[in-house]
């Protein structure tokens, strides 16, 4: 996994609240047994019509979205199913961060395990971001800051272990394995 220290990118905006993981990747694409190649299926039912043709008006199909690595979305992003395929699809498409006022628990965990930053901001910042698609932002993971185009710096909460894992490109399994002696002791105790 690629370490995540700093990122500068323009944003793509999906203003809807409560975007669930069934929208991020519909269940019929979960028939895969690998993690690769899900980017093509990202937001499939919004991106393609029933004949598989791209819907020109959907934001990810517009030229301005090309190369954008930050997704800004309405509140409660990633609710619903625990499918990690949602995080895999976002990453495979090229996203590295999702910004919202609120991000659902399981999606947040899954994102962090894959180096995708779930970034929560307060309402006024979110409202500004939602109203300014394509804004160029800089994310600094080490300092937990988001720099807006005018230079304003907003700090965002990031759990210390999550920060460590992002900076080092880790998913936490190494840390768990390093606790083998404690796990052995626990199993003997119980």
């Amino acid at each position: 996994m690629e370490p995540f220290t700093r990122l500068t990118s323009r944003t793509v905006v999906l203003p809807a609240a409560n975007i669930d993981t069934d929208q991020i990747i519909p269940a019929r694409f979960l028939t895969t047994t690998t993690r690769a190649g899900l980017g093509e299926r990202l937001f499939a039912d919004w991106r393609y019509d029933e004949h598989g043709a791209r819907r020109a008006q959907f934001v990810l199909n517009q030229p301005a979205a090309a190369g954008c690595r930050i997704l800004v979305a309405g509140a409660n992003f990633g609710c619903g199913s625990s499918r990690e395929h949602a995080a895999w699809a976002l990453i495979d498409h090229g996203f590295r961060a999702v910004i919202s006022t609120e991000i659902a628990d399981i999606f947040r965990n899954n994102a962090l395990k894959n180096g995708l930053l779930p970034l929560t901001v307060a309402e006024p910042t979110a409202a500004w971001l939602l109203a300014h698609p394509g804004a160029a932002l800089t994310i600094d993971v080490e300092h937990g800051t988001l720099t807006l185009p005018a230079g304003e710096i907003v700090s965002f909460p990031l759990e210390p272990f999550a920060r460590h894992c992002l900076l080092e490109g880790l998913d936490g399994l190494g840390f768990l394995l390093s606790r083998a002696a404690e796990i052995d002791a626990f199993e003997r105790r119980t």
Binding site: A16, N18, L30, T31, T32, L176, L177
Partner: protein, 467 residues
Amino acid sequence: MARAPQTLFDKVWQRHEVCPESTATPAVLYVDLHLIHEVTSPQAFALLRERGLTVRRAERTLATMDHSTPTRTAQVFGGAPIAIDAAAQIHELEQNCARYGIELLGLTHGQRGIVHVIGPELGLTQPGETIVCGDSHTSTHGALGALAFGIGSTEVAHVLATQCLLQRKPRRLAVNLSGRLATGVTAKDLILAIIARLGISGGTGHVLEYRGETIDALDMEERMTVCNMSIEAGARAGMIAPDETTFAYLAGRPRAPAGEDWERALACWRELRTDPGASFDREVAMDAAAIEPMITYGTNPGMVIPIGGQIPQRPGDAVFARALEYMGLSAGEPIKDHPVNVVFIGSCTNSRLSDLRTAAAVLRGRRIASGLTMLVVPGSQQVKRAAEAEGLDRVFLEAGAEWRESGCSMCLGMNGDVVGRGQYAISTSNRNFEGRQGAGARTLLASPLTAAASAVRGRVTDPRELG
């Protein structure tokens, strides 16, 4: 010194802490039971192999297949072809289980079923356990007083490799319920009303504990329906303190403790109830006696109204307007009497024997409306056999419904059991997201009682009015 009063959650959490959390690191939490299925496990096993790891405690892991498996008897037992992708997932799970020595209740096994139905049914789900599965409705198992929650595939790999998870301690939210449910009102209506009250992200970051006389009066299967949909309020887990109802349910189940072990377990389980004076981070109170049969009208489970009510008006709310457009419904109009094309009785929310009995009682001696498709999919092969033993299958078939083998089926439409584009389905499942039951499908979530009554009339029907 007397210890501070604790909640049910606190007790279960504390008993599973391998390493407590610190500012720098989350807690290492031990997992008693790990349930896996064919859709979210392949990538986890691949991760094990990439890192050169193996399964730490195969005997604490149980595999089944439910999400992408067919429900047609000819495909399950008769050798009729299965979709290539599903067959590949089934094959991969078989191989992984064989390689790592994990017990598998495979496609033709008599105890196979939806993972959240078979855990309690086998007596594997027990009070005070920690249970995880790569599936968000793992919250179901909390009905027996377990701390049970859904995880992603990378975390499935973590549990396979270490039998542990890294977790920050969630906050505690008490849902205090008073009053008895009225006639025609079920546990499904109760949880839909709770979701309406909390909002679909109201439980984020929290573990819910459902408490009070309403809950005490529910049987185990009803409690499972309630805990099942905790995730629809954003909570990863929902719990109910174990009591005599729980113990009676577990007694004699194949994987429950027996003999002296049972007595020891019982003594332990009785300690789990939330202590008087224990504090929660948040509490909400609701009068359950006032709840009516509930039905969703929109594209998330919080968009729900009493069945006799009107679809709300939210002028200026573009997301709301878009949801209604998808549903083909208008603000201000009643939902009752709206035509329905499909009825689905099934899913880990409402596919247990009591749910099937409820639906069959409505359909006995009646026929479903002409042109309507009705699918009844039992939650497990054991539920299926039990239902057949009391003739419920014949009631459904004579009414014109289809009677299938167990699985997730039309709850998520992965196996080809889908609702057509633009069609209206009354479903006893738990999610009405856009496309959940098939691309363009329009889902109305309701209880088995409401679903069966609506099947008879071909329209959204208040079960209390069917007569």
